[in-house]
């Protein structure tokens, strides 16, 4: 219910924000740095946002891909960019909470990132190949208990959202699985579809598009998702695991207070776009708007949720 609470709060704040939005921003194209390569789930969301941004503000949203080190390359450079309100960066939680702990030195600390808007949530799913003998989460957990460390589970990178989900699930189910990191979502999914691994943690968007070849066992969101209503949540199956990726807009630390609010409100207005929301929900993304400065509490809450997991992943490394 927490998510719904946030959404409600978000809706009210963003409405309040919109009515009070200062005029005059943006006056020219806004740069949105995407810390991943073109074509991934995050990049795709940003590109769908481009026309909506143009509609809402009258200016272009310029996407700059700056991939590297699972996003760390871009995030570690954020604060050296100009704080003029025209430089913004896509940020993903829990990635920015996990990386500084797991991949030392990652070049930045979680607290260095100034988030002004959380605009989307993508739940994670536990998936197996179509031909897998595991029909339910229970089958999988039973197999993992019978032979600890034998079940292989694919995910993207070390210290990303998938890795956190694996650690959270192992702890909740009391099992030990072997995490196999891949360089990006696509190659991990390919390994899963080819049964190179037993199972994988991946994103709901992938689970939906690849449903011819993989089977989702459960989703790690608070509630069932509309696009796959028969898919149980881990919570209702008795595993207290919720995980996913929260997309946020961040600005350099040097961005002045009033500009931070303006950036936040402009993007919040952009994502109200009907077409944008329709496309995103088709992909399995939940559109939400937690604006500045309320968003800091949200970030703090996620940080305290994920930091222990980060420590656990680091200890096991």
């Amino acid at each position: 219910m927490k998510l719904r609470g946030w959404l409600l709060a978000a809706a009210t704040t963003s409405f309040a924000a919109l009515s009070g939005a200062a005029l005059g921003y943006p006056e020219k194209p806004v740069v949105f740095v995407v810390p991943y390569g073109p074509g991934g789930p995050s990049d795709l969301g940003a590109r769908v946002m481009q026309p909506a941004f143009k509609n809402a503000t009258g200016h272009e949203l310029v996407i700059q891909n700056r991939p590297g080190a699972g996003g760390a390359t871009a995030w570690s450079q954020l604060n050296s960019m100009p704080g003029d309100g025209y430089t913004t960066m896509l940020t993903a939680m829990p990635h920015i909470i996990l990386q500084p702990v797991v991949n030392q030195p990652s070049g930045y600390e979680t607290e260095d990132i100034t988030i002004v808007l959380v605009y989307g949530y993508l739940p994670e799913v536990l998936a197996v190949p179509k031909a897998s003998k595991f029909q339910t989460v229970k089958d999988l957990v039973a197999a993992a208990q019978a032979s600890p460390g034998r079940i292989t589970i694919a995910g993207t990178g070390v210290g990303g959202g998938n890795h956190a989900a694996q650690a959270l699930f192992d702890r909740a189910a009391g099992v030990r699985t072997a995490y196999v990191p891949f360089k990006d979502t696509a190659s991990g999914n390919a390994a899963l579809m080819g049964s190179q691994v037993d199972t994988a943690w991946t994103w709901l968007s992938q689970g939906l598009t690849l449903k011819d070849n993989i089977r989702m066992l459960a989703v790690a969101s608070e509630e069932r998702v509309a696009l796959a209503p028969s898919l149980p949540t881990l919570k209702e199956l008795g595993y207290n695991v919720t995980s996913g990726a929260w997309w946020a807009v961040a600005v350099p630390k040097s961005t002045p207070e009033n500009l931070r609010r303006q950036v936040s409100q402009s993007f919040a207005k952009v994502i109200q776009d009907k077409q944008y929301q329709a496309k995103m929900s088709e992909f399995g993304y939940v559109t939400m708007a937690i604006t500045y400065p309320a968003v800091s509490d949200f970030v703090k809450q996620k940080t305290s949720e994920y930091r222990p997991i980060a420590q656990q992943i680091k200890a096991k490394k």
Partner: protein, 149 residues
Amino acid sequence: MSRVADVFIGAVAAGFGAFLIIASRSYTDLGAAFPRAVGLSMIVLGIILMAARLIRRRSSALLPALEGSMARRALFVVIISIWGVSLPWLGIVLASVVGIAGLTLVSNFSRWNARRILVHIVGHAAIFAFFYGLLAYGLQVPLPGGRIF
């Protein structure tokens, strides 16, 4: 290639290999596997290179001698480095003006006269304007802007 140079290269390669192995001590086993393998290969290759030259007393295939002006080469490296490194401070336009002017002078082997100078200024300005327009506006490549100006 002289024997001394080959022996030196072999030693440097072996030393670099040793560095890779030593530096990988703090990594996890999985993270250290490749640095160790590459480091070991470099040590072996370095030793083979040194041994071959020291024992067989034969030098490897001769390279063609360097032709042309070393000063021009050095100037080229200096100018293109200034061009690249000054981008964040001068911005793309100013840094390129400096770079293009400098490299035009370095790569010039004929006598300058008023006509040639004019042709070069106009020509470079037109070419630069075209590609700048294509990249910055056509493709929306965010070109570095200057800090100072």
